[in-house]
Symmetry: C2
Subunit: 157 residues, 2 copies
């Protein structure tokens, strides 16, 4: 009896591990494709695109520490990436009037326009990558990964 339970436990572990490796493989495949296309099409790195994406969602801008927390991809420190994008004129740093130690970064009008173009193409690339799945399957994946995420966030707190 004990050996049955152990065997089953072992199989469960194995499935969990297989799922983790498959998640990682899918993420790596999408990320590599998006990175390559961003470079080819817009000469932009993924971390710079990601920084602009985070700012696009927050018209009032974000502090550097908020930006750090929200960045989805690694590949450079936020200060260095912000410097580059600022030199291109796509973001500005603004010192807060009520607290001169804090500075917020926000997209410029030029940055917002350029990002909108890039984001539209980026959505098409991602849609093509996901085209092997039906709409209903995408919904199932969204739901199950949503529950996985909720469980993991609950474990952390």
């Amino acid at each position: 009896m004990t050996s049955d339970v152990e065997t089953r436990a072992c199989d469960d572990d194995h499935q969990a591990l297989r799922l983790w490796l498959r998640l990682l493989t899918c993420t790596n495949l999408i990320e590599a494709d998006v990175r390559r296309r961003l470079t080819q099409r817009f000469s932009i790195t993924l971390p710079r695109f990601d920084l602009m994406a985070q700012l696009d969602r927050c018209p009032d801008g974000l502090t550097m520490s908020e930006l750090s927390k929200r960045m989805m991809v690694t590949g450079g420190n936020v200060t260095g990436i912000t410097d580059q994008v600022e030199r291109e004129g796509y973001v500005v740093r603004e010192v807060m009037p009520h607290d001169r130690r804090v500075c917020r970064v926000r997209l410029t009008e030029a940055g917002r326009k350029v990002f909108a173009e890039m984001a539209a193409e980026h959505e098409c690339w991602v849609k093509d990558l996901m085209a092997g799945l039906s709409e209903a399957e995408v919904k199932v994946l969204l739901d199950l990964l949503g529950r996985l995420k909720t469980h993991m966030v609950a474990l952390k707190s």
Copy 2:
């Protein structure tokens, strides 16, 4: 009519993008947790663990270029990581008798033993992270992500 099709297309894009961001979030959450535990428990980095995991699957060893291709996580060049793990006595480099330009890396006995211990705990961590999902749900996720992967690999070729 055209606007309906465009609207639907837009919604589809949006779901695909949501799925990509959710995949990335789940991967980042698991990876951060595993990284933290590997450091705390075994004072080992994820790239070093990953290198040993790849070698554990190949008792005959791998060349440096094979290792490079198989590494699942980023965070250092393979030569540097191999140097570190070699200093710890967990891998050896061997020059091939038939072609002295090629060297293979393989786990030592000590490396294989240490890796087995780490891998057993690593499986438990991953199982705990996935514990929010039933066995059946894990199978569905494995299946759908498998099909996503197959589609993406087919696109590349």
